[in-house]
């Protein structure tokens, strides 16, 4: 242990006081420190790090955080003994680990909240990749969530490097792309190192875990091994991975009575999301550059998923209407109650189920926007007549509506648009929506 309680560190003319040890990881210790005014987390590496590692960290600090979702290193500290550390913000108390979600110890408030988190995750990696970084060590341990809001925090950002550069870390088994597990030889010499494309593969695994509570490559083939060890993991995740829901190769299906959650949740996700997983986990095994679903593709698919969810009046759970399925969901998959009648808003290519509390996002009304998680409207019940629902928009100015009879009316900013079938809505920039 490098520091004890009440030790002080002078740094950039300030004095940091060590208040507590927050935790210990493989690479170092994390302390709670205060500079008198604010409190931070200070990570101190156990060993002297390679100069390249230090240089990279320093660079990342200077370039700054890709988005507020990252608990990004803020200041580099060099200690006299040659060790280094960095300051970052503290993880707020309302966040729980993704691991605690995966193990069933915390749960998202509902499906929409979970999808909000998944979209946040894709948005964060989209930004990271746009800045020319790759994350390299994507695994279940780095992510945190606010169960009530679906907000995201990404910790452990010290292995992030400029894409195509590598500091020696390959990743964590079960989350690594197969070419990294295998250490594929490159035509020009050297072996395949983590990059944007392997990040994308790992991101798909995290999304699969989040939505289906299972690993996409662990199924029947587990029965071939008495013991899960380096050899079996190399085979299942590197040498010859088979997607558990591969359309043709059914040799690695989830095991009944064992992969229970996966078997329960997979049937409930929309077909277009299943297709995206299939593409990443089947075609993407070999064509790493073209067949791995990109962040933007995920964002669009997951937004579509969120748009078509409704809440069951019987059990309170959310499920999809099934607009993209072979057959719509005419009953709730959890309690079998008949699906309620629900209007939808069609605008551009979007179809949003207008259930109570449903949010209309900036991207629904503006196809050039990338604010997928920024609400500009919400479905509310009339406080005096709860069976009357309306859509209240903000920041959209006056909205022109035309009902079935052809009567045109102008709804002032902040007032609700009534939800009635066949109502046409004219938003800013002549964007036309219709309630169906």
């Amino acid at each position: 242990m490098k520091f004890s309680k009440n030790d002080t560190i002078s740094f950039e003319g300030r004095t940091l006081t060590v208040l507590d040890l927050l935790g210990e990881g493989g690479q170092g210790e994390v302390y709670l420190v205060s500079d008198g005014a604010d409190r931070y987390a200070l990570k101190v590496y156990k060993y002297e790090v390679h100069p390249d590692f230090r240089y990279n960290l320093k660079n990342n600090i200077e370039k700054g955080s890709p988005s507020p979702s990252f608990l990004w290193p803020k200041r580099l500290i060099d200690f006299e003994d040659g060790r280094i550390g960095y300051l970052m913000d503290l993880r707020p108390k309302n966040y729980v680990s993704f691991v605690s979600y995966l193990t069933g110890k915390s749960a998202f408030r509902d499906l929409s909240t979970k999808l909000h988190w998944c979209i946040e995750l894709c948005l964060a990696f989209k930004r990271l990749h746009e800045m020319g970084y790759s994350y390299q060590d994507l695994n279940d341990g780095s992510f945190f969530l606010d169960p009530d809001t679906g907000d995201l925090l990404i910790c452990d950002n010290d292995n992030v490097t400029a894409d195509k550069k590598n500091l020696g870390i390959l990743g964590k088994m079960r989350y690594m792309a197969p070419e990294i597990v295998r250490g594929d030889k490159l035509p020009g010499g050297g072996v395949q190192m983590p990059d944007v494309h392997s990040d994308r593969f790992s991101l798909a695994i995290i999304l699969f875990l989040a939505l289906c509570l299972g690993n996409p490559f662990e199924g029947e083939r587990l029965k071939n091994y008495d013991i899960v060890d380096e050899t079996s993991e190399y085979e299942m995740f590197g040498k010859d991975p088979v997607f558990v829901y591969h359309k043709e190769d059914k040799s690695n299906r989830p095991i009944r009575g064992y992969h229970t959650s996966l078997i329960k949740y997979w049937p409930m996700i929309p077909l277009y999301v299943k297709e995206a997983f299939h593409r990443s986990f089947v075609d993407g095994l070999t064509d790493r550059e073209n067949e791995r679903t990109t962040e933007l593709e995920w964002i669009r698919l997951l937004s579509r998923y969120r748009d078509e969810t409704i809440r069951c009046d019987g059990c309170g759970k959310e499920y999809i209407l099934g607009l993209g399925e072979k057959k719509r969901n005419d009953v709730c998959p959890f309690c079998r109650k008949k699906t309620k009648g629900c209007c939808v808003l069609r605008v551009g290519r979007n179809v949003v189920a207008l259930d109570l509390g449903k949010e209309i996002m900036a991207t629904h009304l503006d196809k050039y926007s990338s604010a997928y998680n920024e609400p500009v409207g919400i479905v509310l019940a009339n406080p005096n007549r709860p069976t009357l629902w309306g859509l209240r928009f903000s920041g959209q100015g006056e909205i022109e509506i035309k009902d079935e009879a052809g009567t045109v009316r102008v709804v002032p900013e902040g007032k609700p648009v009534p939800i009635v079938r066949n109502l046409k809505i004219k938003f800013k920039n002549n964007v036309i929506g219709e309630i169906k």
């Binding site: 691991v99 069933g104 749960a107 341990g141 590598n166 008495d226 229970t260 959650s261």
Partner: protein, 240 residues
């Protein structure tokens, strides 16, 4: 499930941690007291380690042996269920029976053992003793034990408590198959620290699946061993 569960969860692999404790007469007093204390210490930290891992369920078992063998619990217990019960000392040091009992334990449940049918990872076995086998044919029993796949892949440590004759060390080296994982411990305090470091570090490393570095595939046991060695450097009265 034993812990509070709000939602469904993913399937976890199973990691078995097995303590094998010599409770022959000579262990009486300080030695066994230290063992009892040490395991309590370990159990105080295990929930944290379990909490941090999404991939592995840690299961704990303890076997005591003297003239007789006895399981502290009939089957492996989860971290939240396992309660240590102090063991007391009496009798000889029958390694043969201990090895046989381990052989039985290291089989799948469907074959009468305690290893999972699916998704089991290599176990961690920590043997603690202060003496020589009182059974003459222990080597044959060890040979049978070594035929078990689960034994071969296990991370094995042996702690020689207050003894250091070459003969006794040889017995333990034969058990672990690796002189580096046989540790001589001289004081109660050292024993307490050593058990804690081994059990905690090994569970942590093995339950977090390897973060592989570019220097090639890392064997989980090697990694755990390296970390343990590193942490034990500062513990006095330990030799290996």
């Amino acid at each position: 499930m034993e812990d509070k569960v709000l939602g469904d969860g993913i399937v976890k692999q199973e990691l078995n941690l097995l303590f094998v404790i010599d409770n022959s007469g000579s262990m009486d007093g300080e030695k066994l007291g230290a063992v009892n204390n040490a395991i309590r210490d370990v159990m105080a930290i295990m929930p944290e380690i379990q909490e941090d891992t999404g991939d592995v369920n840690i299961k704990i078992s303890a076997l005591t042996f003297s003239d007789d063998v006895k399981w502290v619990y009939p089957e492996p217990k989860s971290v939240s269920e396992f309660r240590w019960k102090d063991v007391s000392a009496d009798g000889g040091t029958d390694f043969s029976r201990a090895y046989d009992e381990m052989s039985k334990y290291l089989c799948k449940r469907s074959k009468g053992g305690q290893m999972p049918e699916l998704g089991g990872v290599a176990p961690i076995i920590i043997l603690m003793t202060d003496g020589m086998p009182t059974s003459y044919d222990w080597e044959n029993h060890l040979i049978s034990l070594k035929k078990k796949g689960w034994f071969r892949v296990a991370l094995k440590y042996a702690l020689a408590i207050g003894i250091d004759t070459d003969e006794a060390m040889d017995v333990l080296k034969k058990f672990t198959g690796n002189p580096e994982t046989v540790l001589k411990v001289y004081t109660a305090e050292a024993l307490r620290k050593v058990i804690k470091v081994i059990a905690v570090t090994a569970s942590k490393v093995k339950s977090s699946s390897t973060h592989t570095g570019a220097d090639g595939a890392v064997n989980n046991n090697d990694l755990a061993q390296a970390e343990i060695a590193d942490r034990l450097e500062n513990v006095a009265d330990v030799e290996w």
